[in-house]
Symmetry: C2
Subunit: 258 residues, 2 copies
Amino acid sequence: MKIGVFDSGIGGITVLTALRKALPHAEYIYLGDTANVPYGTKSAAQVVKLSLACAQYLKDRKVDHVVVACNTASSLALNEIRQALHPIPVDGVVEPGIQAVLAESAQTRLPVLILATRATVRSQAYGNGLRMLLDAQLQPVFEQACPLLVPLIEEGWTDHPVLHQTIAEYVRPYRDQFSQGIALLGCTHYPWIQKAVESALPGWKVVNSAQAVAQTVVGALKKELAESAEKGRSVEWVFTDPDALPASVRELMEISHE
Amino acid sequence: MKIGVFDSGIGGITVLTALRKALPHAEYIYLGDTANVPYGTKSAAQVVKLSLACAQYLKDRKVDHVVVACNTASSLALNEIRQALHPIPVDGVVEPGIQAVLAESAQTRLPVLILATRATVRSQAYGNGLRMLLDAQLQPVFEQACPLLVPLIEEGWTDHPVLHQTIAEYVRPYRDQFSQGIALLGCTHYPWIQKAVESALPGWKVVNSAQAVAQTVVGALKKELAESAEKGRSVEWVFTDPDALPASVRELMEISHE
C-alpha cells in the first residue's frame, strides 16, 4: 500500500505526520512542489496546471492512493486531479475539514471562521461547502485570508511577538463580535501555530484538519490495510527544488517520524 | 528606443518609476513573472532558468535595452542573461546599488548593511562586490535576509505596527552595535517601505538603488536618446499570471506614471 502525499511545499508534512500516526504500515511518497511554492498567491488556472503535474508524477510512481495535502490545490483543482488519476482514489483536505467543523458545531450554531491563504479564500471552497450544510441564517461562516502566516512560519517565528500580533490583527473582527466560535486551520502550515491561534481566540474551538484528513484516508483504506502484512517503511521525500528548502525543514521531516 | 524591464513580480515597478522619470521619452515593456513569484526563496538553478525565460521574451519583443529590475535575478543570473541576450545591453540592480553605497560611504568608513531576500543574501553578490571595493577590515559589510518584508508589502501593511516591529527585529543587531551606517534596500519592493526602514535605523543613511539603476541606464543611453525625437509612450504591462495580481497593483502601476 503506497500513499502519495503532495503539497506546494512543506506544509503537507503536518498531514503526512497525522497519516503516519493513523496508518503506520503504509509506504509514503511525499512530493513538495518547492519550485513553485506558494500556490496560495497564484491564479486558479496556474494552481490547476501545477497540481496536475504533481498528480501525474505520483501516478507514474504507481501509488495506490493520493492525498492532496494542500488546501489551495484541494480548493481549486480536486475535480481535475480526480479525473486525471481515475481510478486511483484521491482525498483532499477541504472535505475532511468541513466534516471536522460539522462534528464540532453539531447543534451549537456557533459562528465558523476559516483561516486560509488568499487563493483558498478566493475559491470559497470552504464557505460554499459549509453554507450548504449549515443553516447560514443562524450560523454565520466567515473566511479570512492570512497571507502572512506561511512566511512567518517558514521564517521560524512560530512563537514570536510579530506572529501573535499578526494573528490578532487577522482575527480581531471576529473575536470582537463573538465570544465563542469554531476556527478551522484551512492551510496545512497552520497546525504549527495552532497554540498561537488558540490564544488569540479565547473561548473558541480551533480545529486542525490534518487529523480529519487522516481519519478520512483510514476509512477509505481500512479493508486493504487489514489485509496488508507489510511493515512500515520510511517516507521517500521528493522536492521539485530541493536546494530551496528552508533550514527548518529537516527538523519538520524528523518530527513526522515521531 | 524600447526598454524591457523585468522582475519576478511587481517590485520592479519601483525601478520602472525611476526610469520613466529619468528617461520619459523611451518606450517600456514591463514583464512581471507573477506565475513564478517569488524568486527570493528559490534555488539558484531555478532563478537562472526563470530569468532566462523572461529575458528571451523581451528579446523576442525586440527591445533595445534590458533592465533586470529584480535583485535576486541580478544576483544569481546576470551573466547568463547577458550571454543569452548579447549584443543587447543588460543592466542589473546589484552593480548600481553597490555604486550608490560607495558614493555614500566615500571616506566615511561607516558600516554597510544590505537588506535583501534570502536568495540574494545567499548569493553574497552585494557582500562580495562591496568587500572587494572597500577595506573590509575598516568598514564591515553585513547582509541580512528579510523574507517577511515582501509579503508584508504585498499585504499592504506598509505603515502597520507589524511591519515596524518586523523591521526592528531584522535591524536590531546592527542598530545596537552602530549608531551610524549605510543601509541599502537590496530588493526592489523595499523602496515602498523606505520611511519605515529609516525610522528603524535613526542616524543611518538608507540608500534606494532604484534611482541608482535609472542613472546607470541614463548613462548608457544618453547618446541614443539625445538623437531620439520620439515622444514618450505609455508602458506595456505583461504578467505571466495576470489573474494573481494583488489588489494593490493597479495603484502601483498608476504611481509609476506620476
